[in-house]
């Protein structure tokens, strides 16, 4: 192990960390925007739409993220029609392919989390809101969703870490994220672990920060559920 090698190339890793954070959080954000309406519709069992959402969720949760990424990056570009479509300027970039794959993946997992949280909301909460004269839209947006999201927090925290770790496969399609930086270091200096160990430590540090943040959030938003005696 040669720590100097890592220190001399710290910029490689700094830009890697930035890339990883960027991909992870944008994917989570887009994924969440997909999951919120989908989760509500699934919990409500909306006709015709629910089965479609089920299919999407099943496909993305039932298969490896790596294969999804391969399919979107290498698979789609096989077709002339895709390469000549207006989507090509986006699908041409490895970064966008990774973002699209990760966002769809995170969306599927978050849909399931939100659906679960909504369907376990006590009937009394929404009944009380209706009794107070709220419209169905108000009940959903002011009572049902905020209450469900709070209770979904611990599971969503797991999903955030899952996405951070999942994003490491981006290095396979030429993206210089944390693992990409590690692999480049290894390839350039013909070493076997310096890059990987550094990458592992960086991922660990970020994971523990995220876990800490979610613990604080849970303390704040789940205070009312604290059953500690």
């Amino acid at each position: 192990m040669n720590p100097d090698l890592v220190l001399q190339n710290w910029q490689l890793f700094a830009s890697g960390v930035w890339m990883t954070l960027q991909l992870t959080f944008l994917s989570l954000l887009i994924g969440f925007l997909i999951a919120l309406p989908f989760g509500i519709m699934r919990a409500r069992r909306v006709k015709y739409i629910s089965p479609l959402i089920n299919g999407y969720v099943y496909l993305f949760r039932g298969t490896p993220l790596l294969v999804q990424l391969y399919l979107i990056y290498y698979g789609f570009s096989q077709f002339e029609a895709v390469r000549e479509s207006i989507l090509w300027p986006i699908l041409r970039e490895a970064w966008w392919c990774a973002l699209i794959t990760f966002a769809l993946n995170s969306g599927a997992y978050a849909t399931e989390i939100i659906r679960g949280a909504i369907s376990t909301t006590p009937k009394g909460e929404t009944e009380a809101a209706t009794a107070l004269g709220m419209s169905p839209f108000q009940v959903t947006s002011l009572v049902l969703v905020p209450s469900a999201l709070r209770r979904a927090l611990p599971q969503y925290g797991n999903e955030v870490v899952f996405m951070l770790h999942g994003s490491a496969v981006a290095s396979i399609i030429t993206i210089q994220d944390i693992l990409g930086a590690g692999r480049t270091l290894n390839a350039k200096f013909y070493v076997a672990y310096e890059g990987f160990i550094t990458a592992a430590l960086l991922y660990m540090a970020i994971t523990f920060c995220l876990v800490g943040i979610f613990r604080q959030l849970e303390k704040r938003f789940l205070k009312h559920l604290d059953l500690k005696r």
Binding site: A94, I172, N186
Partner: protein, 250 residues
């Protein structure tokens, strides 16, 4: 329960102890046509492999080909996963600090490949794909600093993205690109452009066989065998199976 445990233990033992009976294990790559590519049945074939087999036969040793990703090929040698690298690896000063090389077994220059009609003057600001950790990466970083570089794990992936239009050009070995890409169906509409580069600082002294520094005997044995198959005509037979001219170089 006991039976299952026993079975599991035995499976592990066989897997762990699956040391090969071959005298030498050779690391090859498998994604660098026509030098090294993966056949339908999963085996690796190509110029590098034929040369490897000829050298082993000449040395009177049995060899086993071990498919290894380019990224991990030098670590694999250092960690004794294999005893030699025969993977079109150029002999460079940088690599010589880590491993040792036999004499070259071929030497061909590097060239750009892009859409027909491209020229080197168009390159500035464009994207060029190279295989990560190759002489071509070092060359591009040194000589074309204003070109955006994209690093790939294998040369096959560079071709895929060149056809897809994700990169504007590829920089790699000329012969590899000619037979591995330009002469295939996918290479329609693409061609060489710019100069033929063979700058010792970047490109080294041709492709050699990599061995661990301690294995000087093995290194010399490979060097001897290379000249043996050159004189016996074996090299020429293999060469003409893949290429129209002698790629050994001057």
């Amino acid at each position: 329960m006991k039976k299952t445990l026993c079975a599991a233990a035995m499976t592990f033992a066989t897997l762990a102890g699956a040391a090969s009976a071959a005298d030498l294990k050779i690391c090859v790559e498998g994604a660098y046509p026509p030098f090294s590519e993966t056949a339908t049945d999963g085996s690796v074939v190509g110029f590098d492999i034929d040369i490897a087999n000829a050298l082993c036969a000449d040395m009177g040793k049995s060899c086993e080909m071990l498919k290894t990703d380019w990224d991990g090929i030098i670590p694999a040698l250092l960690e004794r996963k294999c005893d030699a690298i025969i993977a079109s690896m150029s002999i460079t000063e940088e690599r010589k600090q880590v491993i040792d090389f036999s004499g070259k077994y071929y030497n061909t220059p590097g060239r750009f490949v892009g859409k027909d009609g491209m020229s080197e003057d168009d390159l500035s600001g464009k994207t060029v794909g190279v295989q990560r950790g190759t002489i071509h990466q070092a060359f591009m970083e040194g000589e074309f600093p204003d070109v955006e570089l994209k690093l790939y794990g294998s040369q096959d992936e560079v071709y895929l993205d060149l056809v897809a239009g994700r990169i504007d050009a590829s920089m790699a070995d000329s012969i590899a690109q000619l037979d591995g890409f330009l002469n295939t169906e996918a290479g329609d509409g693409f061609g060489f452009f710019g100069g033929s580069y063979s700058i010792p600082k970047y490109h080294g002294d041709g492709a050699g066989i990599g061995v661990r520094k301690a294995d000087t005997e093995l290194r010399d044995a490979f060097s001897t065998s290379i000249s043996n198959i050159r004189t016996s005509g074996e090299y020429e037979t293999i060469n003409s199976k893949y290429f129209a001219f002698d790629i050994y170089g001057g």
